[in-house]
């Protein structure tokens, strides 16, 4: 196995991990505030769709990114209204939102945008931007500092959310709403508002995760193009014990296993590609089972908050 192959492999790992990582960062905000983030898949899909349509209609990539964030936010809003105003069960609400996103994107693409049939839209991809000086470091430079913008955003987001959750008043309130909403209420903030805001912010971030796929990696929208990455992001959040850095590790693991699967032939593995495709899911299950009960959920997650 030579260096060129290794660099290619690591590059693919980063590429595959990026959309999952971005969605997982949104997922952390949502879950830490006390809502199960099963709807990540739908937020991502909506973001991917709105990103492409927005970029197509506005003719600018910034318009696309803005639309992607709004598309994810829209599904965050739907889930927020259902779970906070109507006390719906979080898991099923998320699942329903995913179903709705799958149908709505496919339907609107064909009718409103395409006028009867699926239109052919190609958006020029977001191009890699080299960080001055750092990009010239051998190997690492090309791998980490010659990436498209959303990749930087995802990795910087890990640090930003880490600091936000530990060091800011808002972050502490958010985490407290997931652990002990009554204490938050006693301190003068309505935990319901915190959860609502977290769903909106998390939705927008997950929408950008969809844009990573559609605007940065593929350049168009196809039905159900997120293909379960939202669920992978959810698993990564839990594998990472609801911490940004741990979640980053989980995403890199998923990215590496998938990158390995794509290069199965080169590795000369004695199993079929389907068995290798199982590896990320098996790995997630194993890590979860290994963590066992220490992988403690935010204690008030999934519970409605009532003042009385």
């Amino acid at each position: 196995m030579d260096a060129v192959f290794m660099i290619d492999f690591l590059g693919a790992t980063v590429r595959i991990a990026t959309p999952i990582l971005m969605a997982a960062m949104g997922g952390i905000l949502i879950e830490r505030s006390g809502t199960f983030a099963v709807g990540l898949e739908g937020m991502m899909l909506s973001g991917a769709f709105c990103g492409v349509v927005g970029a197509f209609l506005s003719g600018s990539i910034v318009g696309g990114l803005l639309a992607a964030g709004l598309g994810g936010l829209l599904f965050g809003l739907i889930i927020a209204i259902a779970t906070t105003k109507f006390d719906t069960e979080h898991m099923v609400t998320g699942l329903a939102a995913n179903l709705l996103a799958l149908g709505l994107t496919s339907f609107v693409l064909r009718t409103v945008v395409g006028g009867g049939k699926a239109p052919v839209i190609h958006i020029p991809l977001l191009q890699p931007v080299a960080v001055p000086i750092l990009a010239d470091i051998p190997v690492v430079g090309a791998l980490l500092f010659r990436q498209p913008p959303l990749t930087y955003l995802a990795f910087v987001g890990v640090i930003a959310i880490s600091i936000f959750l530990r060091r800011t008043r808002g972050g502490l309130l958010l985490a407290a709403s997931g652990e002990n909403p009554l204490a938050v209420f006693a301190a003068g903030t309505d935990p319901i508002h915190v959860r609502f805001a977290a769903l909106l912010a998390g939705g927008a971030i997950a929408g950008l995760a969809g844009a990573v796929l559609s605007l940065q990696q593929i350049g168009t929208f196809t039905d159900g193009m997120t293909g379960g990455r939202g669920y992978m992001a959810l698993a990564a959040v839990i594998v990472g014990r609801w911490l940004p850095l741990g979640t980053l590790a989980g995403c890199i693991m998923f990215g590496a296993t998938e990158a390995m699967q794509l290069r199965a032939q080169a590795f000369n593995l004695p199993v079929s590609s389907y068995v290798i495709q199982m590896v990320p899911y098996l790995a997630a299950l194993l890590v979860l089972a290994g963590l066992g009960r220490t992988a403690r959920l935010p204690s008030a997650i999934g519970q409605p908050f009532r003042r009385d």
Partner: protein, 348 residues
């Protein structure tokens, strides 16, 4: 009867779950209708074509009934699980494994077993689904991993196992599509009505819903499940073991979903094909919720979903409105139903 009494009676009627569910479905049709308008089509024409496509002729009704059978079976399993506070998202994988196991039995047993191959294949399907559910329950109980995650992950693995079998040992050579060779005639599920495609799956499914209803409301086991779902504390004080009810409920869901997978391959396709059950398990969750977790109500809810889907496919062919409209209606009605019943479903 005084006016006040009539009014309060009417209010009580409006307060029933059934009324709220119907209203939610109507609202979802209204919102979807607005979408169709935005697409420049007439929603009434679209809905008319869905109804015609679903009920327009006897063969169409048969397609809908056959489609409803696996939804009903898996939906009943999910409804029981949710009632017992087990968030089982794994029907999808259990159906896939049931179909796989039934297909293996049907292909291997055709020569050796003769006419006994059909019951053998059905039992294999049931066991396949149950085994898959049991693994999930075991991981959940032994290691405390949340059941939603275990079952979701295992769905992906189940799909890949089916793909592995179809691209490997069981695949039909030169078929051009990942599928097994066709089963022998003896392994086919009998028809309910001669010279139609209607197989006995719908009868099995309705029976399952009725049995589940009786077990849930008339037996000690059912009471334990309801207690476990209503309150952890109460169940604990009453000496009801959480682990036992989780394992039992998951097994029941596995059995029913495995049966759903088996009747789909033995009754509709007569072979295992890739993606034969894609989305069935998630539909089952939606159907269970639409039925407000009542096993008997799963029957109409499953029929609604099935006929909606067959009708929409025909609508797409006839007037060119994409059939993904169905997903919109399903997703919206599920969200509206969830909002309308709040957390009430499990308590009532």
């Amino acid at each position: 009867m005084t006016v006040a009494a009539i009014v309060s009676q009417r209010a009580a009627w409006r307060d029933t779950l059934a009324w709220r569910v119907v209203l939610s479905v109507v609202w979802s049709l209204v919102v979807t209708g607005i979408l169709i308008l935005m697409a420049g089509k007439n929603p009434f024409v679209a809905y008319q074509h869905i109804v015609l496509g679903a009920f327009g002729s006897w063969p169409r009704v048969v397609v809908g009934l056959n489609k409803a059978a696996p939804y009903m079976l898996a939906g009943v399993g999910v409804a029981l699980c949710f009632r017992g506070n087990v968030a089982n998202m794994g029907a999808e994988g259990q159906i896939a494994m049931g179909g796989l196991a039934a297909s293996v039995a049907a292909l291997i047993g055709a020569n050796a077993l003769g006419a006994a191959v059909l019951p053998a294949a059905l039992i294999a399907g049931v066991l396949g689904g149950a085994a898959w559910a049991a693994i999930a329950a075991a991981i959940n109980l032994a290691r405390g991993v949340h059941e939603v995650l275990v079952t979701l992950m295992m769905n992906f693995i189940a799909w890949l196992i089916v793909a592995e079998f179809l691209h490997g040992p069981m695949g039909e050579i030169d078929a051009g599509f990942p599928q097994t060779p066709m089963f022998e005639n003896v392994a086919w599920l009998p028809k309910l009505v001669a010279r139609t495609d209607l197989h006995i799956g719908i009868v099995i499914a309705i029976l399952a819903a009725v049995v589940a209803h009786v077990v849930l409301w008339r037996t000690v086991t059912g009471f334990r499940w309801r207690l476990a779902g209503a309150s952890d504390k109460a169940a604990h004080y009453a000496g009801v073991s959480r682990a036992r009810s989780v394992f039992g409920l998951m097994l029941v869901s596995g059995v029913l979903s495995g049966m759903a997978g088996a009747i789909e391959v033995l009754g509709v396709h007569y072979r295992l094909i890739e993606g034969f059950s894609l989305g069935f398990g998630f539909n089952a969750i939606a159907i269970a919720l639409l039925a407000t977790l009542k096993p008997l109500w799963v029957i109409p809810a499953a029929l609604f979903f099935a006929f909606l889907e067959t009708g929409a496919l025909s609508m797409q062919r006839q007037i060119g409105i994409p059939s993904s409209l169905v997903l919109v209606i399903q997703g919206l009605s599920l969200i509206f139903v969830l909002c309308a019943i709040g957390r009430g479903a499990r308590r009532i």
